[in-house]
């Protein structure tokens, strides 16, 4: 496999970092206000990626299913934290619904894509499962964060409408449905867009990585399609689960709209 691959040496990493630093400098000159955070984020991502690379390397070598599961759980917990930090204007106390959503989606990913489509041996093959889980979590985190932010925003905008519907005998579900549909649609848009443009406009990250690493481009294309299809389906599943878990938080147990819901003032 390594016959056709090109390693990146330290000089290469330094050049890439310099590019980020150059962009940061440029944005500083233009007073865009993102220079510092761009630089910090670049360094942080380099360290995180290298660390993740080392960890995966270690786990592949040790070939232990418990270690694979342990890393999956760590990734899951980090994903919950990132989702909650990224979603704007959501009430507190949503960590458990988000955890539940991501956990169920992850189990589906492993069961369907891993064990039904690719069927690796051993079943826990770390070099397959860990990247799959990572890609799935990455997509679901953004989809859920967008959907949750939009949902609470939409419910607040529709406050009078919801009041009228409740007065006419509607259930909380009937009141929330419009907001749920629009939030799920917004959460799914990037996934659908990336499905449609893949292969023509872009060579998606996973396929590009496999080809650069010397893999067969056709195999890479098949993998990419499977991952895209799975992510589209699982993003919808994740959106649906999180919506059914959280819509009730806008209402009291006596089916009254709860306007004083405590919001976190989180920043992206």
């Amino acid at each position: 496999m390594s016959s056709g691959s090109y390693d990146i040496d330290l000089l290469g990493l330094a050049v890439a970092l310099c590019m980020a630093a150059g962009a940061a400098l440029f944005s500083g000159l233009l007073k865009l206000g993102v220079g510092k955070s761009l630089l910090i984020a670049s360094c942080r991502s380099l360290l995180q990626l290298l660390a993740m690379g080392l960890v995966i390397q270690f786990i592949i070598k040790s070939n232990n299913p418990w270690l694979v599961m342990a890393l999956a759980v760590v990734m899951l917990c980090a994903a919950v934290q990132i989702t909650l930090a990224r979603a704007h204007g959501i009430p507190k106390g949503l960590a458990f619904p988000v955890f539940l959503t991501l956990a169920v989606t992850m189990l589906f990913m492993v069961a369907l894509v891993g064990e039904l489509i690719i069927r690796p041996k051993p079943w826990y093959a770390p070099q397959l499962l860990l990247p799959l889980i990572g890609m799935m979590l990455g997509n679901c985190v953004s989809a859920i964060a967008v959907a949750m932010s939009r949902f609470y925003e939409s419910m607040e905008e529709r406050r009078d409408e919801i009041g009228t519907m409740l007065a006419l005998g509607a259930s909380p579900w009937e009141c929330s449905r419009t907001s749920i549909v629009s939030s799920m649609r917004l959460g799914l848009l990037p996934t659908v867009a990336s499905l449609a443009s893949s292969g023509i406009v872009t060579i998606p990250g996973m396929m590009a990585g496999q080809v650069i690493a010397g893999g067969d481009p056709l195999v890479a294309a098949k993998y990419q399609f499977v991952v895209f299809a799975a992510i589209a389906a699982l993003t919808l599943l994740a959106d649906a689960i999180i919506m059914t878990r959280i819509y009730r938080t806008c209402f009291t147990d006596r089916d009254q709209y709860r306007p004083w819901i405590s919001r976190t003032s989180s920043k992206a």
Binding site: D160, M165, A167, S171, E174, R254, D255, Q256, Y257
Partner: protein, 243 residues
């Protein structure tokens, strides 16, 4: 002997900085079937909140409610709101056309369930048969019934298939009232329904309410206009007390 509609120990405590602010405490209210009671009082005294509390829509309000001698708990939250219907001050029309707006309440599960059990239970006189229109099977009153109800409210100029966002403020208020009246609630809680109307149309709204009351609906009106002689009783809410 129970009154037709009763509200006891009605209390509203709003969360405020450093504790609670009591808007009203331990109010008692009752009325007979077909009565019209006007609720008046200074602005911000809690008249709308009282009505919303009666409809169990306000999370800060508590109290013991009963209708026809039966406790609110025995009805279930959504059935209670079907029978004791709150009509908000600002009309909110949901639906593309006037007919869609008026048929909205019949899209909710509570009325479909009522439809299924209407032969067994007299509590749901508001349930309607299925109506077949050009656009397929829809729930709710048919076009003729909506037309008649709108005409009674002085809305002869509003076509059923007019886009609902084309209506003027006064027309919206009347369509909103028409929607709630057609659900035939036992108690109607009308919150400043005639505030945006001219005298002529306010008189038409009052006349429609008089007819509804004659048919057995009890009506509580929050009003800022001069008394129109329709109310059986005028109650003042002031400094947290009903007088």
């Amino acid at each position: 002997m129970h009154a037709f509609f009763q509200a006891a120990h009605m209390t509203c405590r709003l969360p405020a900085q450093g504790g609670e602010h009591t808007l009203f405490d331990d109010l008692e209210f009752s009325m007979d079937q077909g009565q019209i009671v006007d609720l008046v009082g200074p602005s911000g005294v809690g008249k709308s909140t009282f009505l919303m509390g009666v409809a169990q829509l306000d999370p800060h309000c508590t109290g013991e409610l009963s209708l026809e001698g039966r406790d609110a708990g025995g009805y279930g939250m959504r059935q209670w709101r079907v029978l004791v219907s709150y009509l908000p001050q600002s009309p909110m029309l949901i639906g593309a056309t006037v007919a869609d707006v008026i048929r909205l309440p019949w899209r909710f599960a509570v009325r479909r369930q009522a439809l299924a059990t209407s032969r067994r239970s007299r509590a749901f006189a508001a349930a309607r048969e299925l109506v077949t229109s050009k656009s397929g099977v829809v729930y709710g009153p048919d076009d003729d019934e909506i037309r008649g109800a709108l005409d009674d409210l002085g809305c002869a100029d509003i076509e059923l298939h007019r886009p609902s966002h084309d209506l003027s403020g006064g027309q919206m208020a009347r369509v909103s009232l028409c929607r709630t009246l057609l659900t035939r609630p036992k108690v109607l809680l009308a919150d400043e329904v005639d505030s945006g109307l001219d005298d002529d149309n306010a008189a038409k709204v009052a006349e429609t309410m008089r007819i509804a009351a004659q048919r057995g609906t009890s009506i509580i009106r929050v009003r800022h206009r001069a008394p129109d002689g329709l109310a059986d009783r005028i109650v003042t809410l002031s400094e947290g007390r009903l007088l």
